[in-house]
């Protein structure tokens, strides 16, 4: 799937309608790129912008390693075509800290030792950041008890809610118990 020039020496030159010029606002900076339409947001970030915090695990939407925030909402960047996200605001793990001050989730992951190899960690942290905002906005989850009077306030976050809401982020090292604890530390 890799559409970058380096990967395909033999391909015929792409006709002009196979590529587009687009702008992504990445971690607060506008980045304008001319990309083959096949380029995903994940490959744009890693290969064209050098932001290697975002990871490629499965490349098929199954593992969550590539999770970033797009216009403030978490998404699997491996399934997003960059051309379809012209103008979007993208936040990667590199953009979460405030200068040298770690994001509270980054600090909690360190504090709780919520990783082993660390490969899934940037995706876990970006996913948790998006998840906390979703819960604050009152989004329910599969384990939220249904009620006739739909609450408008934030959804409360216990360990079960966190596990369910984070189920799109796999960890091959099985660091789940510490990941849940780190997120509990930051959850309101």
């Amino acid at each position: 799937m890799d559409p970058t020039p380096a990967g395909r020496g033999t391909a015929a030159p792409a006709p002009a309608d196979d590529r587009s010029t687009l702008t992504l606002h990445v971690n607060g900076t506008a980045r304008t790129l001319t990309l083959d339409h096949r380029t995903t947001v994940l490959d744009a970030l890693r290969q064209h912008l050098g932001l290697t915090g975002v990871k490629k695990g499965c490349d098929h939407g199954q593992c969550g390693a590539c999770t970033v925030l797009v216009d403030g909402r978490r998404a699997n960047s491996c399934l997003l075509l960059a051309v379809a996200h012209d103008g979007a605001r993208v936040t990667t793990v590199e953009g979460l800290a405030d200068g040298d001050r770690l994001h509270p989730l980054q600090a909690a992951f360190l504090e709780r030792d919520a990783l082993q190899c660390g490969y899934c960690t940037p995706g876990q942290i970006c996913s948790a950041a998006g998840m906390l905002d979703e819960a604050a906005a009152g989004f329910p989850s599969h384990v939220t008890p249904p009620t006739a009077d739909v609450p408008v306030g934030p959804a409360p976050l216990g360990a079960d809610e966190i596990r369910e809401r984070m189920s799109g982020n796999l960890c091959r090292c099985g660091a789940y118990p510490h990941i849940v604890r780190a997120i509990e530390d930051v959850a309101p």
Binding site: M1, P3, A14, P15, D17, D18, S20, D36, H37, R38, T40, D59, H60, G61, G64, T67, R73, R74, A75, N76, L79, L80, L81, V83, A84, S127, G130, M131, E134, A137, G138, F139, P140, S141, H142, T144, P146, A148, D149, V150, V152, R163, E164, R165, M166, S167, G168, N169
Partner: protein
């Protein structure tokens, strides 16, 4: 992946016009299924028409108290919508039982309805598959079919429809609105997806160039309660092995309204009309529920390795009806 041209049409009319004039073009919603299948080489469009920014992103009330759901409303927004949660909990629950938080943020109503089967042979272009390559055969029939159909399959295809949302929409009597080169039409969601027959390459009755613009829900029946239950290999983030969407109203101990649909058992969401016939007007008790579910699942024809799905469906439906009855008539 094959190179492709990209277009972001300004209107529904432009999307339909270009699509109808360009054989092999594909609409792009969230892309969570289409982009995946393009990476696998299963989909090879020469033109991708991005409909995700068309102004179809609203959930609004209809005059009769139902809901109109735009085709580009994201699955997570639909599940969280206060009117959906209050009137149609089965729909909210079905959406929340599907995929992951990230995927639901991206996936759209239209794309969810048209997601393709997860049959492993369909997704592997080195294998024969009648759905992907008509006439090439169906290796799933004798091969890996543990997750596949037990109802309504044909010698040509035993695939299942993987959507949770579509099962709830089937039980809720939703209607799909389509815009095509010949104009607009409305199709009940229960007629939208097909059984495989001898042309499993057609998942639905959608015609070339047609765009899903909206899904319309009627208001909930008087006194009705609804829910969605899903049985799967993991507690979260797995496709259904069997699922049930049910709507029930009980008056004076009798079933005043019922609709029941199964998911993951067939090539389309399976509206359980035989079970509903047994239930309608009958005493709302466990004996009736068991008889009704049995009446529906009599038609099951499991394959070598998926007989367990029939039992799973039976228990899931029985549990759903029992639970709804206790809520619909708490004093009975």
């Amino acid at each position: 992946m094959k190179p492709f041209a990209y277009l972001r049409p300004a209107s529904v009319a432009e999307a339909v016009r270009v699509s109808a004039a360009t054989p092999g073009a594909r609409f792009l919603g969230g892309g969570t299924n289409l982009v995946d299948l393009m990476k696998l080489g299963v989909e090879t469009p020469g033109l991708v028409i991005d409909v995700s920014r068309l102004p179809l992103d609203r959930v609004t009330r209809t005059d009769d108290g139902g809901l109109r759901i735009g085709a580009t409303v994201r699955n997570s927004d639909l599940a969280a919508h206060p009117d959906v949660r209050a009137d149609h909990p089965a729909l909210s629950q079905a959406l929340l039982a599907g995929a992951s938080g990230q995927l639901r943020n991206t996936a759209t109503t239209g794309g969810n309805l048209l997601q393709r089967t997860r049959c492993p042979y369909f997704q592997d272009i080195t294998k024969p598959c009648n759905k992907r390559d008509p006439g090439s055969g169906c290796p799933a029939r004798e091969g890996a079919h543990r997750d596949l159909a037990v109802l309504g399959h044909s010698p040509h295809c035993v695939a299942t429809n993987p959507s949770d949302m579509a099962v709830a929409l089937a039980a809720l009597d939703a209607t799909v609105l389509l815009h095509g080169p010949e104009g607009e039409r409305a199709v009940p969601v229960t007629d939208f997806h097909r059984l495989p027959g001898d042309n499993p390459d057609q998942d639905t009755v959608i015609r070339p160039g047609e765009l899903i613009t909206e899904v319309v829900l009627p208001p909930p029946p008087d006194g009705a309660v609804s829910l969605y239950r899903k049985a799967r290999d993991r507690a979260s983030y797995a496709f259904a092995l069997a699922s049930v969407a049910a709507v029930l109203a009980v008056r004076d101990g009798r079933v005043a309204h019922v609709s029941l649909a199964f998911g993951a058992l067939a090539h389309r969401p399976w509206r359980a009309r035989a079970a509903e016939d047994v239930l309608r007007g009958a005493t709302a008790d466990r004996e009736t529920f068991a008889r009704a579910v049995e009446a529906e699942l009599e038609a099951a024809r499991p394959l070598r390795d998926n007989g367990f799905k029939v039992d799973l469906a039976r228990r899931t439906a029985f549990g759903a009806l029992t639970e709804l009855a206790s809520r619909a008539a708490p004093n009975d």
